[in-house]
């Protein structure tokens, strides 16, 4: 079990004509990743989802807030004592082409961490070779074929499986998959997603799935939880199927509305939400590239208000916080939550 409360991170940008400025990447995020569970962070680039993943993997620190692993607050430990905890969280990178050393065979890539693991656990060296084959089998690869090969001899899908196998060498409790299928060929993506789901079921490993493609989040488990992040704030959170089928926050609705409709197979949702174009849409206040420096930061209103088609005067004055609304299973940060059918509906097949 790994969780966090009030995770806050601000990046300071130096230089440039505007001089130094502060870019809030995360604004007090709470999360919990249950053992064997699936949690997905979704949002646009620059929303802070990757930074949050890196903080959870111990690759980045937060300015405020607390990460708790198995009941132990990480801030109470020295850097060195923290390491064994963060080793339980392994990151699977987006790019399987750069995540493996091109000059080392797959055998070499897996042997190093496994030899270390053998020493730590007092196992004989031969165990490492055996385990390498076992792990490759677990991710759906043929060890005899893959072990002697170099990364460039494998397809993108195979490489991503190798990267996952390597993450498994240290027996992690959480796999953080950051856009793990976005560079994989379309026909093979579901295979990787199915593998992550399978690893949850077989090994009890939790999966933290970070993506801008909401649809993929369903495929690591329909029992999972979805966090929708906008400019460093969780704006909606709940069971994945509920948030997709009955979103209440206008930003979630805009994200879901933007997913292409397969005309002919589906008809568009009736209440699709199109966000207002970022004010003026000129370089310095483009919200997709630069999450900070937005007028609403200073005004203290809702972060999404400038792009929200349903904003009211209250939204520009006050910032809503994440909370429950009646008996709905999801939480949201919106003054005017309303269910809208935005997702495309399958056309019944003849």
């Amino acid at each position: 079990m790994i969780g966090g409360t009030g995770i806050t991170k601000t990046f300071r940008q130096r230089g440039g004509v505007l001089g130094a400025r502060e870019v809030p990447a995360l604004r007090g995020v709470d999360f919990a990743i249950p053992k064997g569970g699936a949690v997905s962070f979704i949002g646009e680039s620059g929303c802070g989802k990757t930074t949050l993943g890196r903080i959870i993997a111990g690759l980045e620190t937060c300015d405020a807030g607390e990460i708790v692993i198995d009941g132990v607050a990480m801030s109470s430990l020295s850097h060195r004592r923290r390491q064994p905890y963060f080793r339980r969280v392994q990151l699977v990178h987006q790019d399987p082409y750069s995540a493996l050393n091109p000059t080392r065979t797959i055998h070499q890539a897996l042997a190093a961490p496994l030899a270390l693991r053998a020493r730590q656990t007092g196992r004989p060296r031969a165990w490492a070779d055996e385990r390498a084959g076992e792990l490759l089998g677990m991710v759906g690869l043929d060890p005899g074929y893959v072990l002697p090969r170099y990364p460039h001899q494998l397809s993108g899908g195979m490489r991503q499986r190798v990267v996952i196998a390597r993450a498994l060498t240290v027996d992690p409790e959480v796999l953080v998959a950051d856009e793990a299928v976005s560079m994989i060929d379309v026909s093979l993506r579901l295979g990787i997603l199915a593998l992550l789901k399978d690893l949850r079921e077989r090994l009890g490993v939790s999966v933290l799935f970070i993506t801008h493609d909401v649809a993929t989040a369903r495929y690591i488990g329909t029992d999972g939880e979805l966090y929708v992040i906008y400019r460093g704030q969780v704006v909606e959170r709940g069971p994945v199927e509920t948030v997709i089928s009955a979103p209440v926050h206008p930003y979630t609705q805009a994200l879901l509305s933007a997913i292409p409709v397969l005309h002919g197979l589906e008809s568009p949702g009736e209440q699709r939400v199109v966000p207002v174009e970022a004010s003026g849409d000129h370089p310095s206040d483009d919200t997709s590239g630069h999450p900070g420096g937005h007028p609403s930061d200073h005004a203290g209103g809702c972060l999404f208000a400038p792009r929200c088609p349903f904003r009211t005067e209250r939204c520009e004055r006050e910032r809503p916080v994440l909370g429950h609304d009646g008996d709905t299973p999801q939480r949201h940060a919106c003054f005017h939550p309303e269910r809208r059918s935005v997702v495309a509906v399958p056309v019944s097949r003849r």
Partner: protein, 343 residues
Amino acid sequence: MASEQGPPGVRIRGLTVVYRTPAGELPAVSGVDLDLAPGTITGVVGESGSGKSTLALSLLNAVQPPGRIAAGSVEIDGLGDVVALGGEGLRRARGRHVGYVFQAAQNSLNPLKTVGKQVLDLGRSHGVEDMRGLLADARGLLGRMGLDGARVLDSYQHELSGGMRQRVGIMLALVLNARLVVLDEPTTALDMITQATILRIVREVHAERGLTTLVITHDLGVVAEVADRLAVMYGGRVVEHGPTRDVLAGPRHPYTRGLLGAIPRLVGDIGEARALPGRPPTLADVPADGCVFRDRCPLRMDVCETGSPPVVTRGSRSAACHAVRDDEGDRRAVAATTGEDQA
């Protein structure tokens, strides 16, 4: 603005493009026939190694060594066969007749020059006399796409977001009044909401300026949103072609069916979706004989090993597959793909 004559049609016939490798010359595109009807948006969908980008470059006769167009023709109305063009004639055709928005247009701008300077460079290299007019056109196009044109022209690449750079790429492709536009992966690396905006802009600009548009993508969703016609490429061949809605509603080629079944969707039973077995062929392992898809095909038959699949055309649709030669084959295809095992 748009010139008087209508949008150009394009006829690609028997196009074969080969790349020189240590193992000899290998075809990336093999004997492709494809028509782009005037005023339509055609989407070409394929995975890595399908030959879709090579096909797109052929429209500009811009395949770079070690690749070369080995056979075939690309007839563009008002321009003739671009495969036969060379030198100055070809250089003028690029930009004036055919606008090209490169893959990752976000990164294809010159980082050392403002967008406006790059527009002037483009004008100079094409002998434009009225530079003021050209800048005004550029500003107008950017404004049409929802940007502050004057401000963008004064900006450097790093000052623009991904979605804004993509719009600059579209502006540069259109500012010399090209009527045939090729967009290579126009939304890759963009966020969902930005992607939706760009796709809307592509549709609107296409209609307003009377263009013939070719969109190259790996994403069926992108084609579904913008294209009138869909061509599916696999292993250097067009395996299925037809009106987008018809193909999506009733795909005939087993690869198209498989690809559609492999897309993560927001609704429906997730158990129904599955990855295709195997992997897309690379240049080195595209089979020379028979069907290029047979290794991953649930309908594989003996004839697929040796016989090149016939292109079966029915009405406005065509598919190249031994198994869809008759209506009975269609039914078999449905049964086999839905009962397919996961690999």
